[in-house]
Amino acid sequence: MSVDLLVPILFNGMSLSAIYILVALGFTLVFGIMRVVNFAHGEFAMMGGFWLLFLLSWLPLTYWVALPLAAVLVGASSLLPEQLVFRRLYGQELPSMIAALGLSVVIAEGAVIVFGVHERNIPSTFQGLFQVGRFTFPEDRLVVMAIALAALAAFWAFVRFTRIGLALRTVAQDREIAEAQGIDTRATYRITFFLATMMAGLGGALFAQIYALSPYMGSVPLMKAFIIVIIGGLGSVPGAALGGVLLGMSESFLATFFGASVAEFASFGAIILLLVLRPWGLLGTPEA
């Protein structure tokens, strides 16, 4: 394989991975800490896309204000369903999952009622090409990668170095012990939900600007998040990063050489194998 072919494939894979990880990270975080399989996660990504469209082209704000603001607005608006729905169902795996399914339908169909079903385009902010030697890279993908990396680094630093981050890690390990230490688990859950949906919103906004924006687009990021967390291990944060890179790269390679449907089959085949042999994923821990 020549370098001319390899570099664009790697580049494409990296930009896919960056968005996938952003979305999957929140999904795995909510499961790891609250034991909720959030079927509405993709819909929060979709909300990010619509907020970005609103802030960027209807208000209009500049990109560097609109994008983070869109993500924060998604996080903030997720606190309502957290308060009304999820809080009552924590600790009940299947009911909370069914409620999340219902919530995802409500949000998606609500968006259809407000915005209509048709696909929209968010005008792209970066259209230039970036030249390195004989390779050219589209600028928008580079920006996406940079933003995703920055967000992931910020998330890591937050969890690693702040007191709230310490509380999150404690609650994830053992809720009862954490409560005995005086950690407010309800507040921790709220923060987790906020962070998770904020990252989903950011990922969704980036995704919607590159591809397309529609009320039903949430199922794609959700599906990717599923695959990634199964690969990496449900609830595992490093697992989500590893899974995201594996999925992004393999999709990029397989889609280039064999077509998109083969790439899809391969990822499904891989996760079925993994679920059978190692249901807790590559970096997860088996449940007792």
Binding site: F31, V37, V85, R88, L89, Q92, E93, L94, P95, S96, M97, I98, A99, L101, G102, L103, S104, V105, V106, I107, E109, G110, V112, I113, S219, M223, F226, I230, L234, S261, E264, F265, F268, I271, I272, L275, V276, P279
Partner: protein, 321 residues
């Protein structure tokens, strides 16, 4: 686990004077087309009856404590089997119908031993994935399945059944037979094994229930029945396409169970009737109706996890006291 509590919570309410109710229901189901002549109602009635088969079959799986999000895939396998055999190979309906149950059941026998080792969330995720795989296969294997367009002009089971009202009675007979068999399974020794497995796999195992073999058997039976529904539905609406068997359809079957109540077989039957009729009468407001659907799902989970059955029982008990 929570599903266990949900299943155990309801169920006993409608047991008294059960035969009386069933008889009245039977008379109603047979008699109403004599008085109401609109084809539209016969059409909805048929859909309701057919969905009771699928919902009741999913109830079997749920009763073992496993939540499947890929049940529509097996409905699709049944529908496509029946459609292909009658159109491409010219098989008579009766044989194609049998095959439409056997093929999904055979597939379930193959994948069952693998997927039923998983529990809880992992089972949900793998059945979700399986559903997607089947949808992809139906979509991509164009030479066999006709790709995204599907298969058209599927003949009715018999020339006599072109009429929608005739098909209604056919569906009534089929649904009664299928649901009857499922009810019989649940009330037999097998049914008690199912409940034992749901309550505690280890305890059931130590009492000599061959867990995995049992779960695979129930799963295969359930998938066979939903395959029957697929076939009956395909010959009723005369076409099949991958779009009919997506995650949404699996979700639909699950929601029927959740809204009706997971405690007993009456739950999915009521849920299927309710959720099939509702959209047909709300045709004008499709988006609103789907959004409401989600709202109802959330509300049921929050306030009446036992479903419509539980609401009915609460109403009855407050009426008495």
């Amino acid at each position: 686990m929570a599903l266990r509590a949900l299943v155990a919570s309801a169920g006993a309410g409608l047991r008294r004077r059960r035969w009386l109710w069933l008889g009245a229901l039977g008379v109603l189901l047979v008699a109403w087309p004599i008085f109401v002549h609109e084809v539209f109602f016969a059409y909805i009635g048929t859909l309701m009856l057919l969905y009771t088969i699928g919902a009741a079959s999913l109830h079997l799986v749920l009763r073992t404590g496993h939540l499947s999000l890929g049940h529509a895939a097996f409905m699709g396998l049944g529908g496509y089997t029946s459609a292909l055999l009658t159109t491409s190979l010219g098989w008579p309906f009766a044989l194609a119908f049998l095959a439409s149950g056997l093929v999904p059941a055979a597939v379930a026998l193959v994948v069952g031993p693998i997927v039923l080792r998983l529990r809880g969330v992992y089972f949900v995720l793998i059945t979700f994935t399986l559903g997607e795989v089947v949808r992809l296969v139906l979509n991509e294997w164009q030479s066999l399945t006709g790709g995204a367009d599907g298969i058209f002009r599927i003949p009715p089971p018999s020339p006599l059944l072109v009429d929608k009202r005739a098909y209604y009675y056919f569906a009534l007979a089929m649904a009664t037979a299928c649901v009857g068999v499922i009810a019989r399974i649940l009330s037999s020794q097998t049914g008690r094994y199912i409940d034992a497995i749901r309550e505690s796999e280890r305890l059931a195992q130590s009492s000599g229930v061959p867990i995995l073999r049992f779960k695979v058997m129930i799963f295969a039976i359930a998938c066979g029945f939903v395959g029957f529904q697929g076939s009956l539905l395909a010959h009723f609406i005369t076409f099949v396409a991958p779009g009919s068997y997506t995650f949404n359809e699996s979700l639909n079957l699950l929601v029927m169970n959740v809204i009706g109540g997971m405690g007993g077989l009456a739950g999915p039957l009521i849920g299927a009737a309710f959720l099939t009729a509702l959209p047909e009468f709300l045709r004008g407001w499709v988006e609103l109706q789907r959004a409401l659907y989600g709202v109802v799902l959330v509300l049921v989970m929050l306030f009446v996890p036992g479903g419509l059955i539980e609401i009915g029982r609460r109403l009855l008990s407050t009426g008495r006291s």
